[in-house]
């Protein structure tokens, strides 16, 4: 243990002078080409949420086709594959990654750390515009001849660039280019998030006093910086294969009797590159969610987070471990069984730090003063959903169980629970929680509760039956089950049930969108700190926070972010920038 000098009140003067901020001069530099992390955060979030709505509607079309084959005449097999591909890619990369890191990261990192802004505001602005360009390219692929690619979100070669897969002409090229632009843009943003955490913290804000939200976003950013290059290299090589006729991934192929000019390439190589990015990606989405949930639970249960230190270590451990599990997505690719054993072991080991986190959340709730606010409802729902989705992960992580289940609806149900529903519940919870800071007004509560219950129960009604379909052997990625006798009538009935529920749950999301817009003007005034929370973003000089975030003086941090219900304190929370109270040090000295 390091002996920490705990200065009582006597804070030495700052040695480093305050940063110089860029001050916008016109409306355009203020709101459009903004260098203020808060505006960039809103730009990121609104873009990502809009894409989320589009991807949601794509999933509606897919569900209608599965339940009532042929009901929508414009959906043929090709269109169905295009829907699947675009839905998956949009949700994973352009919604979840962008929202957690670009949206919440930009808004919360500087505010929670007591910084005036990100350390490289210009690169931060560029990051958003690269992201928007990537989105434009992605959406433009709907308009090119042949439509978007239908290769599946994993884009496995050789099928992704051979005839028969829709979007061969233009779609796949646009997809790869869009991903490359996204990665370049993200790298600029990611450098910002990481360096701001390392360098931008205010005085007294040691790493171990940062809120867990920042820890989650920070670790996820580091991971994303190291994982996205794999997708980048894969995309470049595939572009070469598609456009220049190289054979990085393309083996010798005979197409309609004619030999294609490819030869000797390795499709497995692409799978390695893809999943070297793809698996960390799961935790790039999950770690910010873990962090945010920890904060939501602590604030709304009025109790300090249980095992803060362990939570930090678990986040870091999960981040490191997630780089050595990628091949568990490739058990059926014909790889050496010893590799399978190795990757199954590492996969199951991740359950340990993850379980530590779940226990700590539950122990935080225990004997807490639980307020069932809307953010809290979503946070609690996340814990349940993440455990449920994680448990099926234990099934799929075992090679022998995975082999019969792979490429069935069971897999679809698993990753939608753990990587789809669970993080999105956190996003909703976080939006209800921080919306008052962004806009100064609270979201409507009855509407929020309606949104919560329909979404939470509906998600279970959609994805629980899907596990049964998978166990029956219903394959994923088939655009209809057809006249196959092996599936009983109940499978068809379940499909219809899932589709109807999905339409209803999707519709409920529009109530949320309405709430977001309506509350901008008509929501209840929130004040500076409606949840009575300790962390610094709630202690700003004004709400919404002004340019530069804090007033003349940056706050000085005297404690961690979880001082709720401290015995002897005048209120049930003590803000992080509150100097020690009389007698407090003696009562809490180690």
């Amino acid at each position: 243990m390091v002996d920490v000098p705990l200065g009582v009140g006597g804070v030495p003067p700052a040695e480093v002078e305050d940063v110089e901020l860029y001050h916008p001069k016109s409306w355009v530099t203020h709101y459009v080409f903004s260098q203020d992390a808060k505006i960039i955060a809103v730009q990121y979030s609104v873009t990502a949420l809009s894409i989320g709505l589009v991807a949601l509607m794509l999933s509606w079309l897919m569900r209608v086709q599965l339940a009532f084959p042929g009901a929508l005449s414009f959906i043929d097999a090709d269109a169905y594959y295009q829907l699947i591909t675009m839905h998956g890619m949009m949700m994973v990369v352009y919604v979840l990654t962008a929202l957690f890191l670009g949206g919440f990261g930009n808004y919360l990192i500087p505010l929670m750390l007591g910084a005036r802004d990100m350390v490289f505001p210009y690169a931060n602005m560029l990051s958003f515009w690269f992201y928007l360009l990537a989105v434009v390219v992605l959406f433009a692929s709907f308009a090119v001849p042949g439509g978007p690619t239908g290769a599946g979100w994993t884009l496995y070669p050789p099928q992704s660039i051979t005839a028969g897969t829709p979007g061969l002409a233009w779609g796949i090229i646009m997809m790869l280019v869009s991903l490359m632009i996204f990665i370049i843009g993200f790298t600029m943003g990611g450098l910002n998030y990481v360096v701001t955490v390392l360098q931008g913290r205010t005085r007294g804000m040691t790493l171990m006093r940062m809120p867990l939200t920042v820890w989650g976003i920070f670790t996820a950013s580091v991971m994303a910086l190291l994982a996205f290059p794999a997708l980048f290299v894969g995309a470049v090589m595939m572009l070469f294969d598609r456009l220049l006729g190289t054979s990085f991934f393309m083996p010798e192929i005979i197409e309609q009797g004619a030999r294609l000019p490819y030869g000797g390439g390795s499709p497995i190589l692409f799978q390695h590159l893809f999943w070297f990015f793809g698996h960390p990606e799961v935790y790039i989405v999950a770690l910010p969610a873990f962090g945010i949930v920890s904060d939501l639970i602590s604030v709304h249960a009025r109790r300090n987070i249980f095992g803060y230190r362990m939570m930090v270590w678990a986040i870091v451990a999960i981040g490191a471990l997630s780089f050595v599990v990628w091949a568990h997505h490739m058990y059926v690719s014909g790889m050496n069984p010893y590799f399978g054993f190795f990757f199954a072991t590492t996969t199951l080991i991740i359950a340990i730090p993850t379980a530590i986190k779940v226990y700590n959340w539950v122990l935080t709730l225990w004997r807490g003063d639980i307020h069932l606010t809307v953010p809290m409802l979503f946070a609690l729902a996340f814990i349940v959903t993440f455990v449920n989705g994680g448990l099926t992960g234990l099934f799929l992580g075992n090679v022998v169980v995975d082999v019969p289940l792979s490429d069935t609806m069971f897999v679809v149900a698993h990753f939608h629970m753990v990587m789809g529903v669970a993080p999105i519940l956190v996003i909703f919870g976080a939006l209800y929680h921080w919306y008052p800071k962004v806009t100064g007004r609270l979201l409507n509560v009855p509407l929020g509760q309606l949104h919560f219950w329909v979404t939470f129960l509906g998600a279970y009604l959609i994805f629980f039956p899907m596990h049964y379909l998978g166990l029956m052997g219903v394959p994923r990625r088939y655009y209809e089950m057809g006249e196959t006798a092996i599936y009983p009538q109940s499978a068809h009935d379940l499909n219809i049930f899932i589709t109807v529920t999905a339409l209803l749950v999707g519709a409920a999301q529009f109530a949320f969108v309405f709430n977001l817009i309506w509350s901008l003007r008509h929501g209840r005034e929130a004040g500076g700190n409606p949840w009575r929370a300790c962390s610094l973003e709630w202690q700003t000089s004004a709400t919404p926070p002004p340019h530069g975030n804090f007033g003349k003086e940056l706050p000085i941090v005297y404690r961690w972010a979880y001082d709720y219900n401290v015995p002897g304190a005048p209120e049930d929370f003590i803000p992080q920038n509150q100097p020690p109270l009389a007698g407090e040090i003696a009562s809490r000295a180690p």
């Binding site: 243990m1 390091v2 920490v4 000098p5 705990l6 200065g7 006597g10 804070v11 030495p12 480093v16 350390v119 490289f120 790298t187 450098l191 990481v194 360096v195 390392l198 360098q199 005085r203 007294g204 040691t206 790493l207 171990m208 006093r209 910086l225 190291l226 290059p229 794999a230 980048f232 290299v233 090589m237 070469f240 220049l244 006729g245 190289t246 054979s247 990085f248 030869g263 000797g264 390439g265 390795s266 190589l269 390695h272 590159l273 070297f276 803060y308 230190r309 780089f323 050595v324 941090v557 005297y558 404690r559 961690w560 100097p579 020690p580 407090e584 040090i585 809490r588 000295a589 180690p590």
Partner: protein
């Protein structure tokens, strides 16, 4: 993929060492009061940013090399000859890095003419490197080593191309620093900024050189034997 995992392991060890200096064993719930930063000067944010960027670029190259080593095993691999000119280009890149290092020295002695001269020299050497690489490409294409003809060719063009893109990106930064050196040069702030820019360029050029030496070793075929030894040791 062992290569990229090994590279990541190095990154993780560095990160773990750094974390271990950040009081991660402390008990924040017991520590009330002001804790000042650990003594010592904080490095400037741009330097940290560059360090992290180098890790990212390093992963990019480690991944390419991993892919290279996997593809190397296939039967249709015909290594292409390493043109002599590559040796010359390597020399140019070394000279560019040395010039920047020398310029850094000059800036410490506040020798502005030296700084300007050094910056121009580094820029010229680097540009010559880029042109040299392009000449190598033309030479190889002229001899029939087309991009799509063989995976060895494809990897050669891909990896030298990726490296060249990084060199060009560095040249943009170098141009900015050069303009700064030729612009108004008054006040301590300006001088410190110039010195920092020089230092960052020098670091980046050394990184480019290391990456290039590794790639060159692969292209020249020395790495093939190394991979073979590793494979035998592993199997």
């Amino acid at each position: 993929m062992i290569i990229v995992v090994a590279f990541l392991a190095i990154v993780i060890v560095i990160a773990a060492w750094w974390l271990s200096t950040q009081r991660i064993m402390s008990k924040p719930w017991l520590e009330i009061g002001f804790i000042d930063e650990l003594p010592g000067v904080r490095p400037p944010p741009t330097k940290i940013g560059l360090g992290i960027f180098l890790a990212v670029a390093g992963v990019l190259f480690a991944l390419s090399i991993s892919a290279y080593s996997m593809r190397l095993q296939s039967a249709d691999w015909w290594p292409l000859p390493a043109p002599r000119l590559l040796w010359f280009n390597t020399g140019l890149l070394i000279l560019a890095g040395a010039a920047l290092e020398w310029t850094k020295r000059q800036s410490r002695h506040a020798d502005l003419d030296g700084v300007r001269f050094g910056l121009i020299a580094a820029g010229v050497f680097t540009l010559a490197f880029v042109i040299g690489q392009l000449v190598v490409w033309r030479e190889l294409v002229g001899e029939g080593y087309f991009l799509a003809a063989n995976p060895a060719n494809a990897f050669f063009y891909l990896m030298t191309g990726l490296h060249m893109l990084h060199v060009l990106g560095g040249l943009v930064a170098l141009a900015r620093v050069t303009f700064r050196a030729f612009g108004s040069y008054e006040g301590r702030g300006e001088r410190d900024r110039l010195r920092l820019g020089l230092e960052l360029c020098a670091i980046y050029w050394h990184f480019l050189l290391v990456v290039w030496l590794v790639l060159f070793a692969l292209i020249a075929g020395w790495a093939g034997e190394f991979f073979e030894i590793c494979r035998q040791a592993l199997s």
